[in-house]
Amino acid sequence: MDQLLPLCVVVPLLVAATISALGWLLRPRRRMLDAIAILTCAAVAAMLAVVLTQAAHQELVYWFAGFRPHHGVAIGIDFAVEPISAGLACLAAVLVMAAMVFSWRYLEQVSTYFHALMLTFLAGMVGFCLTGDIFDMFVWFELMGVSAYALTAYRPEERGSLQGALNFAITNSVGAYLSLSGIALVYGRTGALNMAQIGADLARHPPDGLVVVGFVLIIAGLLIKSAIVPFHFWLADAHAVAPTPVCVLFSGVMVELGLFGIARVYWSMFGQALGHRAGVSTTLAVFGLLTAVVGALFCMRERHIKRLLAFSTISHAGLFLTGIALLTPLGLAGVAVYVIGHALVKAALFLCVGIVLHRLGSVNETRLHGLGRSLPVTGVIFTVAAFGLADLPLFATSLGKGWIEDGSWVLNKGAVTTLFVISSVLVGGAVLRVAGGVFYGLGDPPSESPQMAKQSDEETSETPEAKGRTPLSMIIPAAVLAAAAVVVGVLPHLGAAVEAAAVRFQDEAAYNAAVLSGLSGVHTSHPIALYPIAPAGVTLSSVLTAVGSVIASVLLALAALYWRRLPVLRRGFEPGTGLVRVVQGFQSGVVNDYVAWAVVGLACFGGVLALAIR
């Protein structure tokens, strides 16, 4: 049913509008409001699952208001859906549903605003994934953004909330305006806003300055959204203060949507035009690997648990970008599976942190040392999810990472794998340190500087009610998500299906033809893979690498917990000393710095790409 496509975006919007219009009626009836929101998310997830199964067989193209292309010129807006975009949208819907279940009855409520904001956030995310028009993508990007800014500042009585929201809003707005400049620039050359038409038009001529500049500018906003170094500073500030269900969405899906956007823009519009694959590939990979390592180092240093998880998201965003940068189907398939696994695991981790905040009233790792022993079930879920984040084999995260590493021979397998392992070990070590220290009381509480202590203390409980037991509505989503990460990891035939989807995603010519023909269901004839399709299986080397890195993470976590009891003093992880302080200084909390770094980063990115492609 073609009509499902617009419904996936319009239904949450209509429900959000209805909830707001009937605010006076629904405000006292919290359970009804929660139920409406959860049912809407479930409905959207179900519709997207149906769309996903349909998209697996054919290219789904839907033209709004019935305006089909007029002699090859697209005059309306379209939705062009294939399995990867449908899958990502479905993931977004599932996570929003989990977040709404988590906040059932407990999250401090202000009229109907929270639910309306979450539903429009969902609509923006789904629209962003499904659309085939670059300006439409910008509109949904902004809708996602505005809802996100408002959700970050949901508790304005905390000072950190406002700082986080302001930094988030200003940095991402600058990015959005830069992207819009890129869109206008490309429009000036091609006279089109439809991605397929632009791609077909740009591919006709060899790449010149305009193509490169257009690509870099459109990517700018998406790079900022994906929190790639040096555009990443806002993420930690925003995550530390947003309500827990919102953090689930930021880390699980929003950042990944930025990366999806980069892949989509490249493969739909600029792939054939830019041509010089090695240049693009290396530039993106360098930024990705830098992000992975920087994120992991900051992650290890943190004591505020939500900020720690935020830095781990930054690190993983770098890994995802590297996978995309490989420009092969195996790389993209690896990223897709890794994203799913990471989203499920990270969501579970954040929900556990939310439970801790609800029951124990703090997110400070030092202060919470050993107190988590009163939350045994949460501890188990957190530890399982932590192992998932450390890429233990059997989890989907490990599966995806293995494929990316296998496919990295196009760049430099040794370097890529080494850096991947380093960042995994650091991130895994940090999260396992939290698990061991907080929930099992192992070792000594990690030390922290007074300034860090003050920061984490500012985070107060989000739920005003009594904290005797952990409600089921909080535990169940966390458990289900963590379990799902394992289930996805062991699904048979996943590799072949995802890789086929990746090949289709990267087949620009077929996409352009399907969209511009105006009809749905045109069978793409023999998509041409630009690199040989390597089989997406589980290789021995990737399993060994993964097991090795997990063992190293465990050892690192134990070292971080017990180092004071060893005769060998290791001061490397003490916050606030020496080189660490210099590096820490970059994350200053001042938005002026963030924008300055973004401009410098963009100048570097653009300059390098210009030189590589010239």
Binding site: Q3, P6, V10, L14, A17, T18, I19, S20, A21, G23, W24, Y62, F64, A65, G66, H70, H71, V73, A74, I75, G76, I77, V110, S111, Y113, L117, T120, F135, D136, L143, V146, A150, A153, P156, E157, S181, L185, Y187, G188, R189, T190, G191, A192, G209, L210, V212, V213, V216, L217, S588, N592, V595, A596, V599, V600, L602, A603, G606, G607, A610
Partner: protein
């Protein structure tokens, strides 16, 4: 980073970025030489296809109507976001009952001249807003422009010094609901097309006989109406919240 370091870092980056940007811009066809097909095709077929002589409105509400739905909701959500962030917090209390004295140091007494001048314009503002909102398909106007002028009428009441009258005419819940009706109404017009078996946002109403008449162009006029009330409600909500925050709400205990 110190302010000086930051400035030099930024200037270095911006110099490169500006050069880079200019490099791309100089490859454009040049000012006045718009090449591409999209605009020309639309100009050729719009009047015949939609019976609207205002082609920009036709693009906004018809050809690219789905973008406009998204943008409507952005404005709606921003208004909700403003209301969320500026809501009264638990340790603050209001001086609702005190009338002029309760407005605090923020508002000044207005002179009769100011009051007369602003109130005289309230009626014309409403009329102009209405006119603009209903002529989207005819001439340069449309729901957005009309909605903003309509919101101005409310702001004029505030400028006349009558903040409490302003608040009584536009209580937050009502304005919220009106905005939601506007945004939802737009989305619902599209859904009606789906219910009729057509693609979302298809123009299913009669197109009228004369291009550019107020009754022509089918759903464009209807959508423009919804957009108008939504924009007006959103701006009244935003302006009202900002004013209320500075005038009425004070920290408990002062």
């Amino acid at each position: 980073m110190t302010a000086v370091q930051r400035r030099w870092l930024f200037l270095a980056g911006m110099a490169i970025l500006a050069g880079f940007y200019l490099w791309g811009l100089t490859e454009l066809p040049g000012f006045g030489n718009y090449p591409g097909p999209y605009g020309f095709v639309i100009n050729r077929i719009a009047v015949a296809q939609t019976n609207a002589t205002g082609v920009v409105s036709a693009v906004n509400f018809e050809y690219r109507g789905f973008d406009t739905v998204g943008e409507e909701f952005i404005l709606f959500i921003a208004a909700i976001g403003v209301a969320t962030v500026l809501r009264q917090l638990r340790n603050e209390r209001t001086h609702e009952s005190a009338g002029h004295e309760g407005l605090g140091a923020g508002s000044a007494e207005t002179t009769d001249a100011v009051r007369l001048a602003t109130l005289v314009f309230v009626g014309p503002a409403v009329l102009v807003g209405w006119f603009l909102g209903s002529h989207a398909q005819t001439s340069p106007s449309g729901g957005f422009q009309g909605g903003v002028v309509l919101a101005t009428a409310f702001v004029l009441i505030y400028l006349a010094g009558e903040f409490l009258v302003f608040r009584r005419f536009s209580p937050i819940d009502l304005v919220d609901s009106v905005g939601a009706v506007g945004a939802g109404g737009f989305a619902a017009v599209g859904i009606t097309a789906v219910a009729l078996g057509l693609p979302y946002l298809t123009n299913f109403l009669g197109l009228g006989t004369v291009p550019g008449a107020v009754s022509s162009s089918g759903t464009i006029a209807l959508i423009s109406f919804f957009v108008g009330i939504e924009v007006a409600a959103a701006f009244v909500l935003i302006v009202g919240e900002l004013l209320e925050q500075t005038l009425l709400v004070q920290r408990g205990g002062r």
